[in-house]
C-alpha cells in the first residue's frame, strides 16, 4: 500500500494548492504550489519517504501519456488557425534558436567567472 499512501499525499498537496490559490488569488496553478510545498517538505525531512517515491516515480514516467489527449487536439485546430502557421512556426523555431544561443553564451560567461575566482 505504500504507493497508495504516497498518492494520497500528492493529492493532498494538490488540494492544499487549491486552497492556497483560493485564499491568495495568486495566478499560479495548484499543481505548481503543491510541487513547491512538496519539495520544501522533503528538504525539511531530509530524504524522500518510500511512499512518496513509490507514487511519484510511476506518475512522472507516465507524464507523456497524461498529456497525450491534449497533444492530439493540435491536429484538430489546424484548420482553425489556417494562414497563421508560418508565423507560429517561425516564432517557435527562430525564438528557440535565439534563446538556446543566449543561454549557452550567458552561462559560459557566468561559470567562467566563477571558476576564475
Amino acid at each position: 500500500m505504500p504507493a497508495l499512501v504516497g498518492f494520497l499525499w500528492l493529492i493532498s498537496y494538490w488540494l492544499i494548492g487549491e486552497v492556497v490559490i483560493h485564499f491568495t488569488g495568486l495566478p499560479i496553478s495548484s499543481g505548481v504550489v503543491g510541487m513547491l510545498l512538496l519539495s520544501i517538505t522533503l528538504a525539511f525531512h531530509g530524504r524522500v519517504p518510500g511512499s512518496i517515491a513509490a507514487a511519484a516515480q510511476p506518475l512522472i514516467a507516465l507524464l507523456a501519456m497524461l498529456i497525450m489527449p491534449g497533444v492530439v487536439g493540435v491536429f484538430f485546430i489546424v484548420d482553425e488557425l489556417a494562414g497563421q502557421w508560418p508565423a507560429i512556426l517561425c516564432a517557435l523555431v527562430l525564438g528557440t534558436l535565439l534563446s538556446v544561443a543566449t543561454t549557452l553564451w550567458l552561462l559560459k560567461r557566468l561559470m567562467g567567472k566563477q571558476h576564475a575566482r
Binding site: 505548481v32 522533503l42 507516465l62 489527449p69 538556446v100 550567458l106 552561462l107
Partner: protein
Amino acid sequence: MPANSLLNTLNATPLFAVGLTLTAFLLGNLVFKRLKKPTWLPAILIAALLLAATLAVIGLPYERYRDDARWLTILLGPATVALGMPLYQQLPHIRALWRPLTVCLPIAASLAACYAVMIAWLLGSSPLILASIAAKSVTAPIAIGITEQIGGSVALLLGALLVTGVATAAFTGIAARLLQIEDDRIIGFALGLNGHAIGTVRAFEISPAAGAFASLGMSLTGIFTALLLPLAWHLIGVGS
C-alpha cells in the same frame, strides 16, 4: 448501421477513450524504439498522430474523446506535484552553483518566452496565439496550468512544446560547438531550460551530468515561469 451502433456501444463508457489512449501511447513507444529513437520524431508525436488518425477513421469527435479521456488527464494534477521529488533531489546542484544559476535563470527563462512572443507579435499573430506559445519552454504539466491562467489554447501550446523541444535538441549541440562550449553541465542546463522534457531526454543521451543539469534547468524554468509569466501577462495586458 451496425458499425455505427458498435461505436456507440463502445463509446458509452469513458474506458474506450482511455483504452485508445493507452494503445496509442504503447504503440508510439514501440514504433519509436523500432526507428532507433530519432530526435526529430519524439515518441509522443508518433502516438498522437496514431491517435488522431484513429479518431478520424472511426468518426469519434475530438471533444467527446477529450471529455472521456479526462479520467486519465485528471492525474496531471498529482503528477505535477510529484515533480517536487526530482526538484528536491536537485538541491545539491543548486547549492553548488547558486551564483551563476540565480543570474542566468531569470534572464534565460524570460528570454525563452519573450523571443518567441516578440517574433510572433511582429509577424501579426493574434493575442490567443501569443498566450498559447508563451510557455513554450516549460515542461508540459506546468505549461498547461500557465496557459489556462493566461487564456491560451492548450492544444496549440502542446504543439508548440513539441516544436520547441525538437528544435532545442537539434540546435543545442551545434550552438555549443560554435560557442566552443565543452562543459556538459552548461549544455545540459541549456537543453533543459529551453527544451523541457524533450531536451532533458537528449541531455541524458550526452552524459549523466548533462542530464542532471537538464532536469535542474527544466524544473527551475517551470517554477520561474509559472510564478512570473501569468503576473507579467496581466500587468502588461498582452491578452486584452
